[in-house]
């Protein structure tokens, strides 16, 4: 389960990054609180991969930014691996990982970073970027903090998803707006169906689904079930 500290961070995120807030950026407060909860020295989200445009999505300390720059310059590192594989990369002892990232490791050590933990911002085939935490002290991220980091990555993924879309929402968000509901199979099936109906990406389809549910005060899972049962089509209903 998510720790109390992280629960507060997530609540803060939910409040400061509601669908109607502009920019969709994460506040420095939330970022700092998240780093404290995870017991790391810095935290940053990178949206998009490769040369096409790396965006620091929220309050990165100088070291975070430099760490990202290094990896994109050198073309190797834990963030790039996590982005490529879609799986968390937990590099607890950078000093012993030189074989894996020969160019990156010495540079990272020189920055005073000894451990890097990367979590993909991802929902299935929707891949938005990565969340990277770094720490001066070597050693694993404790299991409880891994849980917290995964929950944070889920929340950041949704925030980024909505900030990238033009689809606006009406009204005030209800409780549980930020709940990912990613454990419902129908939500993902409906995402695929709506993307075909509207001719949009999976990411945009998920935003539309969530906006539809939000605007009508319905549960996302119920809307998704209607789509899968073909009781609801987005190309007819939601123009």
């Amino acid at each position: 389960m998510v720790s109390d500290r992280m629960a507060i961070v997530l609540a803060l995120l939910e409040r400061t990054s509601t669908p109607n807030s502009t920019g969709g950026g994460l506040s420095m407060t939330a970022c700092a609180a998240a780093a404290t909860a995870l017991g790391v020295d810095g935290l940053c989200a990178v949206v998009g991969t490769g040369a096409a445009g790396t965006v620091l999505a929220f309050g990165a300390q100088a070291v975070s930014a430099e760490l990202e720059d290094l990896q994109f310059t050198l073309g190797q590192g834990p963030t790039l691996d996590a982005a490529a594989t879609g799986v968390p990369v937990l590099a607890a002892e950078l000093a012993s990982a030189a074989a894996r990232w020969p160019a990156f490791i010495p540079a990272a050590l020189q920055l005073g970073v000894n451990a890097v933990f990367v979590f993909p911002l991802r929902i299935g085939a929707i891949s938005l970027g990565t969340l990277t935490a770094h720490r001066a002290a070597a050693g694993p991220l404790p299991a409880a903090q891994v849980t917290d980091a995964l929950a944070l990555a889920d929340a950041v993924t949704l925030t980024v998803l909505h900030s990238q879309s033009d689809t606006g929402l009406d009204g005030q968000p209800g409780p549980g707006w930020a709940a990912p509901a990613t454990y419902r199979a129908e939500v993902h099936q409906a995402t695929g169906m709506v993307s075909v109906q509207l001719g949009v990406s999976l990411a945009e389809a998920l935003v539309r689904l969530r906006a539809f549910a939000f605007g009508r005060d319905l549960l996302l899972a119920d809307v998704a079930a209607d789509v899968v049962a073909r009781r609801l089509r987005f190309d007819e209903e939601d123009r």
């Binding site: 799986v87 075909v196 109906q197 899968v228």
Partner: protein
């Protein structure tokens, strides 16, 4: 000549060993395992659930890709034998749903509505960590013998190994990565089922069968194919258009 269970068991474990030494797709493998459970343990349906770090249950695979079974899993988020099994790490065996209706009212009602009268749940366990459960659903009240339970637990252990086997596991944090990989793969398959069902005007269940058959026939990993379908990648064009089989 009827094939004895011992023979079936041997064949299953040979099949399992062959898969695990290869570069295999974990979700596809779990589906095969669920099907073997149905054959070997003579139950109506079998499903594998994974539990994530936040305590949410995810249906990873089922012997019959039907919504009904998935719904059962979902309902369990409240309470049910599989939840109990995941929480305690101990098997729930021969749980008669009529007798246990008071213990898990919503689950018992949903399961009976689907024609199941008994359920068994065996933990997917790695030392002290429980990562999910193998659930067996029976349409009659025949008792699962001790031998059956041992076979079932062996199959559950194989499932655990398959999830963790791609890399060696030394630390709890690696477990998180492996679980995450399996769950991401499952989500991609659901998204691909949606895309395919809309493109081909078929049900999501039919879409899954189509995906799986296509992956088998073309020697592709199920999750790789699912990603291509979900992304609308050109490698999946034939499948999306239905130009290579009769289902269009």
């Amino acid at each position: 000549m009827p094939v004895t269970r011992e023979r079936q068991l041997v064949e299953t474990f040979v099949e399992v060993a062959d898969t695990l030494v290869d570069d295999f797709d974990v979700i596809d493998f779990l589906h095969v395992l669920a099907e073997r459970c149905v054959q070997l343990l003579d139950v109506e349906a079998a499903g594998l659930m994974l539990i994530d770090q936040r305590g949410n249950l995810h249906a990873a695979a089922a012997s019959a890709e039907n919504a009904r079974l998935l719904e059962l899993f979902e309902l369990q988020s409240d309470a049910g034998p599989c939840i109990d099994c995941c929480r305690t790490g101990t098997p729930v065996v021969n749980a008669d749903l009529t007798a246990n209706a008071a213990r898990w009212p919503r689950f018992a009602e949903a399961a009976q509505a689907s024609g199941f009268v008994a359920v068994h749940a065996l933990p997917l366990r790695l030392r002290e960590t429980v990562i999910g459960a193998l659930n067996l659903f029976a349409a009659d009240s025949r008792i699962l013998t001790d031998d059956d339970v041992r076979v079932g637990q062996a199959l559950a252990d194989v499932a655990t190994m398959s999830i963790l086997s791609q890399r060696s596991l030394h630390q709890a944090e690696l477990l998180a990565a492996q679980l995450q990989a399996a769950l991401t793969s499952r989500i991609m398959i659901e998204q691909a089922k949606g895309v395919l069902s809309e493109r081909r005007r078929i049900s999501v269940d039919e879409a899954f069968t189509l995906l799986r058959d296509h992956a088998r026939n073309h020697n592709l990993r199920l999750s790789d194919l699912a990603r291509d379908v979900a992304d609308g990648s050109s490698t999946a064009t034939d499948l999306l258009r239905g130009t290579e089989d009769r289902l269009s």
